[in-house]
Amino acid sequence: MIFGVDVASMLLGGVAAGMVLFIVSVGLSLTMGLMGFVNLAHGGFAMLGGYVIVQAMNHWGMGFAVALVLGFVITAAVSVVLERLLYSRLYRAAELDQVLLTVGLVFVMIASVTLLLGPENQPLRLPLALQGQIDLGIVKYRTYSIVLIATGLLLAAGLWLAFERTQIGAQIRAAVDNRRMAESLGINIARLFTITFAAGSGLAALGGGLGAEFLGLDPQYPLKYLVYFLIVVAVGGLGRVTGVFYAALLIGVLDFVLKKYLPQGGTAFIYGFTILLLLWRPQGLFGGQAR
C-alpha cells in the first residue's frame, strides 16, 4: 500500500508540474508553429499576466478566478498592440532579427516592471479553498495541485476542441502546415496571426498566474524559465496543442521523478534527453515537417 501511495503522490506532483509548463508553453508553441517566429519574449507575457493578476487580487480586491480572466484579457490586449506594431514587421525577417526583437522586448518588460513595482517577488495568496490538502481516497495531496491538473485538462480539452472542431481552428492548422497555400485560399493570415498571438499571450498570462504558486513571480521570471518553455515547445513539436500537452506532461513527470531520486543530476538529464530527442526527430514528438 505504501508503495502505491508513494507512486500516486509522485505522479500527481509530476503531472501538476507538467500542467504548469503546458499552460504557459502552449501559447508559445502556437505562435512559433503558426508564425515561425522565435518569440523569446513569451515568458515576459506570462510575467505581465501574473503581475496583473497579483495586483488585481492584492490591491483591487478581486477574487482569484476574476483576476485570472482580467490577466488574460489585459495581456492579450497588450500583445495585440505589440504584435501589430513590432512583430508583424518581422514575419519575413531572418531568425536573428526575431531573436533580437524578442530579447529586447524581454529586457524592456523586466526593466519597466522593476521600475514600476520594484524588484521584490510578488506574493500571490491563493484563496483559502485552494490551500492545504485534499483527500483523494488513496492519498491526501496538495489541493492546489489537483485544481491545477483539472484546470490543465479542461484547458487542453477546450483548446483541442477549438483547434480540431472550429472554423478558425482549421484555418490556423492550415496556416501552420503551409502558410502560402492558406493565404492563396483567401484566409486572412494577418488577422489569424493577431488572434493566435493574442490567445497565446493570454494563455501565457494564465500560466503566469496559475504557476506563481510553484514558479514564484518576479521581474526575472521571463529569463529564469526561458529554457524550460523552449524545451517543452521543441520537444512537443510546433503548432500542435496535443504535442505540447504530452511533452509538458512527459517533462513534468520526468523532472519530478529525477529530482526525487537523483536530485543532483536531474536537470542535466532533461537537457540530455532534449538533445537526443531533437536529433532523432528535429520536428519534435508531434510536430509536422521541420520548418
Partner: protein
C-alpha cells in the same frame, strides 16, 4: 572558349576589386591605435579594457559561424567555458599554468567540444539547431556544477595560479597592465587568422552557404564538412577567449558557461553588425561602455535602454551599426557620383 591574353582579363574592374579585397585599408588600423591609446591614456580603465578586448575576441569567434556561415546559435558560451575551465582546472591542479601554451590547450579542448557537437548538431537548422546549441551549453553547465570537486561548482575556481608571461611579466590583479597587452596581442593574432580565413576561398564558400545552401550543394560543395570545420575553428577561438579570460581574471566559474554570456555575445554581434569582421569591435565597444558607464548612473534604466535599442536595431537597422554606416556611405556615394555602384565588397 578562345583564351584571351591572361593579363587582359585580370585587370578588369571587378577582378581588381576581388583581387584587392583583402588588402589592408588605412582605417583598419584605427581599432588597434585606439587600443594602444587606451593603454597609454587611461591606465585606470585597464580592467574594463581587458574585459572589452576579450569580449571582442569572443564576438569575433561567433561572427565566424553566425556572420559568415549563417549558423544562429544561443550556445556559443559552451566553448568559452570549455576553454576557461581547461586553463582553470589545469592550473589549479598544478598540472599546467604557463599562459601561452595554456591557451593552446584551451583552444584544443574547445575545438574538440566544437567538433563533437558540430558533427551531431549541424545536421539540423533553424529553431531546432538553436535549441540544440542551447541545451548542449546547459548540459555542460550542469556537468561543471556536478564536477564541483574540480570546477569549484557555483563558487568557481579562485586565485588560479598563472606563471608570469615569458617568465617575467607578472599578472597583477589590481593594475592589469600585462593582462591588457597580452590579450591585445592574442586578439590581434586571432583577428589576423579570422581575417585571412574570411577572405580565403574557404571563407568565400562559407558566405556561399549562408546566402544559398541549396545552390552550394548544387555546385558540388561538401556543405556539412565545411560547416563542421568552420564551427570547430570558431569553437577553438572561443576557447582561447575563455582561456585568456580565466588567465586575466585568475578566476573561473559557471558564469563562463551561462546563457547570459551566450545571449550577450549574440546581442553584441547583432548590435555591431554580423558578417562584417569589425561588427565584433563596434558591438562590443558600444555594449560594454553602455552597460558599464550607463548602469553606474541609472542601473535599472540601463536595461530599459538596452531593450529599446535592441528593438530598434531589429526593426530598422538591417545589420547593426556597421550596416547603418554602410547604407549611409552607400547612399552618400550614390548621391555624389550618381552611379549605382554596389557597396564595397568587404564581406
Amino acid at each position: 572558349m578562345t583564351p584571351a591574353p591572361p593579363s587582359g582579363v585580370l585587370n578588369r574592374p571587378a577582378a581588381l576589386v576581388l583581387a584587392g579585397r583583402h588588402r589592408i585599408r588605412l582605417w583598419e588600423t584605427v581599432p588597434w591605435t585606439l587600443a594602444i591609446a587606451l593603454y597609454v591614456a587611461f591606465p585606470k580603465y585597464l580592467a574594463f579594457g581587458t574585459e572589452l578586448l576579450i569580449t571582442i575576441l569572443f564576438a569575433l569567434s561567433l561572427d565566424l559561424v553566425l556572420g559568415y556561415a549563417g549558423i544562429v546559435t544561443l550556445g556559443h558560451a559552451a566553448f568559452f567555458g570549455a576553454g576557461a575551465y581547461t586553463v582553470g582546472i589545469l592550473a589549479k591542479q598544478g598540472l599546467w599554468s604557463e599562459p601561452i601554451t595554456g591557451l593552446l590547450l584551451a583552444a584544443a579542448m574547445a575545438a574538440a567540444v566544437g567538433l563533437g557537437s558540430g558533427l551531431v548538431l549541424l545536421r539540423t537548422r533553424g529553431l531546432t539547431l538553436l535549441m540544440l546549441t542551447l541545451c548542449t551549453m546547459a548540459l555542460l553547465e550542469e556537468a561543471a556544477n556536478l564536477a564541483h570537486v574540480y570546477t569549484g561548482g557555483f563558487d568557481g575556481l579562485d586565485s588560479v595560479p598563472i606563471t608570469p608571461l615569458f617568465g617575467r611579466f607578472e599578472f597583477n590583479p589590481l593594475y592589469p597592465t600585462t593582462q591588457y597587452l597580452y590579450v591585445l596581442a592574442v586578439l590581434f593574432a586571432c583577428f589576423a587568422f579570422v581575417r585571412t580565413l574570411v577572405y580565403s576561398p574557404f571563407g568565400q564558400s562559407l558566405t556561399g552557404i549562408r546566402e544559398n545552401l541549396l545552390r552550394m550543394r548544387a555546385v558540388g560543395a561538401p556543405v556539412r564538412t565545411r560547416l563542421v570545420l568552420c564551427y570547430t575553428l570558431s569553437a577553438a577561438i572561443a576557447g582561447i577567449a575563455g582561456g585568456i579570460w580565466a588567465q586575466a581574471n585568475a578566476y573561473v566559474n559557471l558564469g563562463t558557461l551561462g546563457l547570459d554570456r551566450a545571449a550577450t555575445v549574440l546581442i553584441i554581434l547583432a548590435l555591431g553588425g554580423h558578417g562584417r569582421l569589425y561588427g565584433a569591435f563596434i558591438g562590443a565597444a558600444a555594449y560594454m561602455s553602455l552597460s558599464h558607464f550607463l548602469s553606474k548612473v541609472y542601473p535599472t534604466g540601463w536595461q530599459l535602454g538596452l531593450g529599446l535599442l535592441l528593438v530598434v536595431i531589429a526593426l530598422f537597422a538591417n545589420n547593426g551599426i556597421l550596416g547603418v554606416v554602410e547604407t549611409l556611405a552607400h547612399t552618400l556615394r550614390r548621391r555624389r557620383t550618381g552611379t549605382p555602384a554596389s557597396p564595397p565588397g568587404l564581406r
